[in-house]
């Protein structure tokens, strides 16, 4: 890993987050480490409660009050947790977040134009007219042609798909170096999802932006990300180049996620649901593999200690039987 | 204070809806106060140590003493006995207002929500127009026309409060009517009246009870104010509002106890009803 740090834009090193829940501190992230290089897109995949959104919030310093963070988060070589004043302001303009539900994440009583240009006007001192024309130009690049009119409208006058495109355009307005996209298409209907995804992918590639793309959908991650990080119960269970994630998963959980999605190309006799329910980090038993209770391949060895991440074929897997199961995971599940 | 402001403060309750309903000390205390006030309203004459109407003119604004715990009022009557007797009218008036206005309000709300269309429009605009009358003003008007006493102000307040009750209940009834189980019952051929009586109203009951509780408090404040103004319960009848008015001079003459005691009785009971009503709202919201 050390060799990569020199070129890393964002680096997470052993990040553990605990939140106060009913009087006690409960872990929601455990020892999360990965890097994003400039221009690289990383997918972050997992079920709800796996800690993927919490990871993005930790990076963007949006954790709820009372959260305790251990480990280190570095952006451009600086420790994110200790940023303050002008440094924090610059960090905020260089890291832009795209949220899941644009309807809730845009102030409903202010006009689109105000929303889009507020950060530019406030933090960069850009005059209103210039900020507006830049906003209109970016709206055009996300496929909204009548930008001037849109700027005068209120959020409730726009559809969800349009609003999400507005949010993407807004995120790009401060010329960030890293996008944090937290399930940006989940709240949209299916046809709009594909459109918004394509726009996001094109723009990101054109502008050579780094991106952390959070999704519960393995295929979407594979389609637009270079590498994918799979999370389960607040831990990373696999890191893999996206192109190989499907055909050659290294962790039984990844394989199970892939099998639980409908696949158009392969004719699967039936969809396989993962038995049991996903665990939160604090529910995961300490001395064993967190996925063991739901894993079809679990043996006694899996319940004796929590597995470490092991390097395998250019990826990482938190499975003690990873090497042994190589190539059999998909077969076993689809069998 | 007006019922308008009070029921609008339902906003407060909505904001805190997430909290789980528990039998907190607040509920125990406010419940006990209400039970105690009810017992006194029913059995006050049995509990009262003296004749509440018997003046001992030589004793006016005198006391307190071990025999007369709250002393004597402006006319030399035992304050404690008058408070115990006065609980009856002070509680009965708000009870009548609450019952009438909840019945009328629920009926209008459910009819409007169930039938919809033109009938809903007529009921809703009728209620909108009723909003033009503040409760106290309508009560004063009623007392002026039909004579002072408890009856006219009670009727007037019932009418004036109805739109506030009906508007909230209509909204809730509309949401309930949109539920799938209602459509299922209709498909099965259940009659509208049967669905309303057996399903719709029972499902709104928590809201109706919460509203009635809060409303009782506001009715008590407004009726006490009307009696205080001399347009409600007539002296020499004992009533908490009347007692504040009768003994108001004592405040300046250095004998505030009779007026304050009656005022405190009103405030304690009203606070109890408000707190209980607020908790009932929260429980209803949490259940949904």
């Amino acid at each position: 890993m050390n060799a990569e740090i020199g070129g890393a834009l964002l680096e997470l090193d052993g990040v553990t987050v605990r939140l106060p829940v009913e009087g006690s501190m409960r872990a929601v992230l455990q020892e999360v480490s990965f890097v994003i290089r400039p221009g690289e897109a990383i997918g972050l995949v997992g079920e709800s409660g796996s800690g993927k959104s919490m990871t993005a919030r930790a990076i963007d310093r949006l954790l709820p009050p009372g959260a305790a963070v251990n480990g280190r988060i570095r952006f451009g070589g600086r420790d994110v947790m200790t940023l303050a004043g002008a440094d924090l302001k610059r960090f905020r303009s260089e890291v832009a977040m795209i949220f899941q539900d644009p309807r809730a994440h845009i102030n409903p009583v202010r006009r689109i134009g105000d929303y889009m240009t507020e950060a530019l006007r406030t933090n960069a001192g850009v005059p209103v007219s210039e900020a507006s024309s830049r906003a209109v130009a970016l709206l055009k690049s996300v496929g909204i042609d009548d930008g001037e009119r849109r700027l005068r409208q209120y959020p409730h006058e726009l559809s969800g798909g349009l609003l999400q495109r507005v949010m993407i355009a807004t995120a790009l307005l401060t010329k960030p170096r890293l996008l944090l996209a937290d399930e940006p298409t989940t709240a949209l209907d299916v046809t709009t999802q594909a459109e918004v995804l394509a726009i996001l992918d094109d723009l990101r590639t054109d502008l050579h932006l780094a991106m952390l793309f959070i999704t519960h959908n393995l295929e979407v991650a594979a389609a637009i990300c270079d590498r994918t990080v799979v999370m389960y119960a607040g831990q990373i269970v696999e890191v893999r180049s996206s192109s190989r994630l499907h055909t050659d998963p290294l962790h039984p959980y990844t394989a199970a996620l892939a099998a639980a999605r409908p696949n158009i190309e392969a004719t699967t006799p039936r969809l396989l649901a993962i038995p049991g329910r996903p665990l939160s980090a604090f529910e995961a038993p300490a001395g064993e593999c967190a996925f063991a209770p739901r894993c079809p391949h679990a043996l006694d060895v899996c319940r004796q200690a929590r597995p470490a991440l092991i390097a395998l074929d250019g990826g990482l897997s938190r499975c003690v039987r990873a090497e042994e199961l190589r190539g059999r995971l998909e077969v076993a599940l689809h069998g | 204070m007006s019922v308008a402001a009070g029921l609008a403060a339902g906003a407060v309750r909505r904001y805190r809806a997430g909290r789980r309903f528990r039998t907190s000390p607040a509920i125990v205390v406010s419940g006990s106060v209400i039970v105690a006030a009810t017992v006194v309203a029913v059995a006050g004459p049995l509990l009262a140590p003296y004749n509440p109407d018997l003046p001992q003119l030589s004793q006016y604004f005198f006391g307190p003493s071990p025999e007369h715990l709250l002393g004597f009022d402006a006319s030399g009557r035992d304050v404690m006995s008058r408070l115990l007797y006065g609980a009856r009218t002070s509680m009965l008036g708000p009870l009548a207002v609450t019952l009438m206005c909840m019945t009328l309000g629920s009926l209008l709300a459910v009819t409007a929500a169930w039938r919809g269309g033109a009938l809903d429009a007529v009921i809703s605009s009728g209620l909108d127009i009723l909003f033009a009358f503040p409760g106290i003003l309508l009560a004063v008007l009623a007392a002026a026309v039909f004579g002072a006493g408890l009856v006219a102000p009670v009727l007037a307040l019932s009418v004036a409060y109805t739109p506030y009750v009906a508007r909230v209940l209509r909204g809730a009834a509309l949401r309930e009517r949109a539920q799938l189980y209602v459509a299922a019952l209709e498909v099965q051929g259940a009659s509208g009246v049967a669905i309303c009586l057996r399903h719709l109203i029972p499902n709104l009951l928590h809201l109706i009870v919460a509203q009635a509780t809060t409303l009782f408090g506001y009715a008590m404040v407004d009726l006490a104010a009307i009696s205080f103004l001399g347009l409600g319960v007539q002296p020499p009848n004992a009533d908490w509002g009347v007692m504040v008015s009768e003994n108001q001079q004592g405040i300046i003459q250095g004998f505030p106890l009779p007026a304050l005691a009656a005022g405190i009785c009103i405030v304690v009971v009203v606070v109890a009803f408000n707190i209980l009503g607020e908790r009932l709202y929260e429980r209803g919201e949490a259940r949904q």
């Binding site: 924090l88 905020r92 | 204070m1 402001a5 009358f133 039909f146």
Partner: protein, 316 residues
């Protein structure tokens, strides 16, 4: 869009006022007792005098015609004669209106300034101040104005002797001094309600997702609070303030009676007791009009503050 909203609301206002005036008129019309007897003060009059009075006051006309005469006179500022004082009701009202208006205005300022500031303070600063505000407002929200009034008189007029407990006062400053205790008595419960709603609205708005968005974009805290938390909380705060201020118009009567202020409300109560129905009619009509107007103003403000408000929907 806003224009249509305002026009619609004004149409509703006209209908409300028409119906309200009809209710006020017919209530008095139906009141037991003969208007001629009231006019003559109970003396028996010769038939021709009776006839003259009937024609003068349109008493020989059908009910609706009488209503029409009354209403058109009222619109022109002629509200008839007071039976007890033998004076023009309009003049009697005019001489008392400033006291009531001053009282309501004073109380409104207290409610909006103190109630909203208290709510903002305890909304942003959880802790001792917040907890004590919650407890104190829970009780004072239920405090009837006349009970608040006697407590204020006891403490500030009798014991501390800071303020007078009776009368209107002479000259501006003295009048303000005389109105201080009444205004606080009138304001106290509404002030508590406004403070509580403000506090919850601020807590609620500060938790909104769009505030997270603004934080993630590096908007400075002061601007965040001003443009995203306070601006959005202003919608429920304005609504509750408006509703409580409107309610003062009627409750002012109680406070005026306690403090012996020569205002409209005290006069209304006095006329109700002495059955001076023309005065009751006139003041009722005026107070209802003021009440409805303030409510319309609240609705319009609500529509201005919240771009999502749909046409014709009422401020809830």
């Amino acid at each position: 869009m806003h224009l249509r909203f305002v026009l619609r609301r004004l149409a509703m206002l006209a209908v409300s006022l028409l119906v309200a005036s009809f209710v006020i008129f017919s209530a008095i019309f139906l009141a037991p007792g003969n208007p001629i007897a009231a006019l003559s003060g109970g003396r028996s009059l010769p038939p021709e005098s009776l006839r003259t009075l009937e024609v003068r006051y349109h008493l020989d006309q059908p009910f609706l015609v009488q209503y029409w005469y009354w209403l058109s006179n009222a619109v022109h500022g002629n509200l008839g004669l007071s039976i007890t004082l033998r004076e023009n009701v309009s003049d009697l009202i005019a001489s008392r209106i400033s006291t009531t208006a001053g009282l309501v205005l004073y109380a409104s300022i207290l409610i909006i300034v103190l109630g909203v500031s208290l709510g903002i303070l305890s909304g942003f600063r959880p802790g001792l101040l917040d907890t004590s505000t919650l407890v104190v407002t829970a009780v004072s929200a239920s405090l009837p104005a006349f009970v608040a009034a006697i407590v204020l008189i006891l403490v500030f007029a009798v014991q501390l002797q800071w303020f007078p407990s009776l009368g209107n006062g002479i000259g501006f400053l003295d009048q303000v001094r005389h109105l201080t205790l009444p205004a606080f008595a009138l304001a106290v419960s509404s002030l508590a309600i406004v403070a509580r709603v403000t506090r919850s609205a601020i807590r609620e708005e500060a938790r909104r997702e769009h505030v997270q968005t603004a934080i993630s974009r590096g908007i400075p805290t002061a601007q965040l609070i001003r443009r995203h938390v306070l601006r959005n909380a202003a919608i429920p705060i304005t609504t509750i303030s408006g509703i409580t201020v409107a309610s003062l118009i009627a409750v002012a009567a109680v406070v005026e009676v306690v403090f012996g202020l020569a205002g409209l409300g005290a006069y209304l109560v006095q006329s109700a007791q002495s059955k001076d129905l023309a005065v009751v009619q006139g003041i009722s009509l005026l107070l209802v009009t003021a009440f409805v107007l303030v409510n319309v103003l609240v609705d319009v403000l609500y529509a201005v503050l919240d771009p999502r408000v749909s046409l014709g929907s009422r401020a809830q």
